[in-house]
Symmetry: C2
Subunit: 443 residues, 2 copies
């Protein structure tokens, strides 16, 4: 299969898919859900082949967990599809309706983006979610999943594609590519592919961004911060930090850097509890010298009376070495106040998701106004940055760009708009000469 | 001046500009308008230097016309500023307000994009318009205008920058770069510049797109089409075609290609009138052999009785030679029906603006649904594609991308959003384990 030829075909049917009615798109999704349930045994059998191959190749347990597609996962994706069906149609919304002059009417109407390439990790449920979002929003997806799920992806794609064809979608409206080298071919399809959404490692996303002229939506890094303010409630701070680091350590919205206000009272309250909690959860601390000096003292003080924090693994590093760990390691430094925290985050963060822990709403408001990130939180875990948790049904990815979509991207990020004007022979010359005049009136 | 250092400083003040109130931004614009009027004599004196240099360098008349900044232009830009002040604030709009669970509230709020680099042609009024749009929307602009307006740009920038500082904006919130080689330095400022808007020739825009990792908004080509359907009213078709080609021939929204339905009755009605009108307006026709054969016949028939169309300059070319002329030349071919017109436009157009001439509203609706362009018009000139004519006050450019803004880009295209969550210590672990559950409720 030559990817470019297939994509060219897709480009020519994309306007037809964009013109499918809301009913037709919802009916297609119902068919997809039906067929997935109907063919579950066949799906599980194919998934078993992927799991066996993973076992043979010594794939890590964490990855194997994601590869698995069982009754639970099937139930989840079907529930996701049903939720998508209930959401308001994102297509065909009139967002501007303006009379420019008598008999000259301008409307702006939402429409699908067109052909969207999504390159995603080895998770069969992701294939179903991304396909469903595209079907709901009238877009044509080119799907490339992780190679560890080849068998499962193949049968899932076949089922979904058959279902949408049965529902009246045109042939060529969905495409699966399986070979890694086909990604490079896809990257050259500017003019045919309207948007690329790569998910995966930093290096991979960066590679995509650097090697295509197609617009790319996504994020490379996820260096998320938690700033603990002097007015923080420690009972909230500790569980939030532990959750943000451990609930899913490899996620882009996991916390990587702690900023703590340089306030004696706060440090006295926080550090013994924090060192104990980090130690208890096996999290290694990499702090500036100032931080590790405090930890030395805290651990020393504790050693006589309690073992809390005693087992903490920690080391002193320079601020330049702070980075995205995606592991049970967290950086830490002290800052004078919320403004220094904001400055640090805007300069060193990745504009993904950053939180402040404080009971002072004024300080929080300042933080949330001035931190230039897709998500700015007060008193909750950075791990909430997720399309499902935002109530979007599902997400195709999280964007740290400020262009187009930002943050978790659901249906709304898969939509653009076009301007329509209906006239009766009007020409611009008449408006330039003053013979006619605009009389803008929103309808 | 090292551009990167200045841009880094701008990046750090951008959140402060983003936090300026609506009142402060409007007041700054009022000050700009006041000062422009106050200092008009000095502005005109500087403009005279640019005009003299242009005369010395033999700059083309059309360009000189654009360089000129006189009372009329001043009145227009001041009127534009006043209009901008009256428009609804694009910043701080709550576009989502959702309770995720008790005491966990998600809001989505519009905010400025941040640092925007705009590279524009030698038009002093463009500098004022772009600056005003950025001030109104809380963005920090890096401005690079055409070198032919160096003196005028310098004084205009100084006046505007002084005015916003007086209004309380932070130092470094606006920047002018004057040297062409500084553009290349600007292109390397990814991570600091959030968006680039290049305006100018195809080759220039393409160069920008190919040489930066900063997101670029704009358009390279503007190959606009007019499709004349068999149900067209010729009384509308002819003036629209002539206006779309001649009203501003060098504009991106000028028509370049005519598609005419292969219908004997239509061809009989249209072609004698069209050839006459093209000839009368000095427009050269480059048609397929089929089209020029008809022209041969029409001109021959006319020759005996009338001179209409006799002076038409025309030649036969292959369809592959159709292109963007930005001159008094138009391509033409016959198509079987609206579907072939749509296919041609989607394949060969630049997704800018395309029009259908027809009295059949069903045919028009099909065309406007399936043509994949930023603007799709029925019975009016493609020249209407413009921010001012859409009632946006002004535009920073026209986008043919389907990502972010599409079509003429006014205030709305200079805005992004951020998600805020205010919680009370919630962690994701509790929702994953089932201890807590989301209860989405839009407020």
């Amino acid at each position: 299969m030559v990817v470019r030829d297939e994509v060219r075909k897709m480009k020519s049917v994309a306007p037809l898919v964009a013109a499918m009615s809301n009913e037709a798109r919802c009916k297609a999704l119902e068919k997809v859900a039906e067929k997935l349930i109907e063919k579950q045994d066949a799906i599980f059998a194919e998934n078993k082949k992927d799991l066996e191959a993973a076992a043979e190749n010594g794939v890590a347990d964490a990855v194997v967990k994601r590869l698995k597609f069982n009754e639970d996962k099937l139930r989840d994706v079907v529930a996701g599809i049903k939720q998508l069906i209930t959401l308001e149609d994102p297509i065909g919304k009139v967002t501007l309706d303006r009379e420019m002059d008598e008999g000259l009417r301008l409307t702006r109407i939402t429409c699908p983006i067109g052909v969207i390439g999504v390159i995603f990790e080895a998770r069969p449920d992701a294939l179903v979610q991304i396909s469903s979002l595209c079907i709901r929003s009238g877009n044509c997806p080119v799907l490339k999943g992780g190679k560890e799920t080849t068998f499962t992806n193949r049968i899932l794609f076949g089922i979904i594609y058959d279902a949408v064809l049965e529902a009246g979608f045109p042939e060529g409206c969905m495409l699966q590519v399986e070979q890694h080298n086909e990604i490079d071919e896809l990257l050259t399809c500017d003019g045919l592919v309207d948007l690329l959404i790569p998910r995966g490692s930093n290096a991979f996303v960066r590679y995509i961004m650097d090697n295509t002229h197609i617009p790319v939506m996504g994020h490379a890094d996820g260096v998320c911060h938690i700033y603990v303010d002097k007015d923080a409630d420690i009972e909230k701070a500790i569980p939030i930090i532990i959750d943000a680091k451990t609930q899913y350590t490899a996620a882009c919205n996991a916390v990587e850097t702690l900023l703590i206000q340089r306030d004696e009272e706060l440090i006295g309250r926080l550090m013994p509890r924090l060192t104990a909690a980090l130690a208890e959860n096996g999290i290694k601390l990499r702090g500036t010298k100032e931080v590790t000096d405090v930890v030395d003292r805290v651990v020393g003080e504790n050693s006589g009376e309690s073992t809390e924090g005693k087992n903490l693994e920690y080391e002193s590093i320079s601020e330049d070495e702070f980075k995205e760990y995606l592991a049970l390691i967290v950086s830490a430094k002290f800052v004078d106040n919320v403004d220094e925290a904001i400055e640090h985050i805007n300069l060193h963060g990745s504009h993904h998701t950053d939180a402040i822990i404080t009971e002072n709403d004024e300080t929080a408001a300042r933080f949330m106004q001035l931190v230039d990130s897709a998500g700015v939180y007060q008193n909750c875990s950075t791990r909430f940055a997720d399309g499902f948790r935002y109530g979007f049904g599902a997400e195709v990815g999280i964007s740290t760009s400020k262009i187009h979509a930002r943050g978790p991207v659901g249906l709304e990020g898969l939509v653009t708009y076009k301007y329509k004007i209906v006239g009766h022979g009007q020409i611009v010359g008449d408006y330039a000469s003053g013979k006619s005049e605009f009389h803008f009136k929103d309808l």
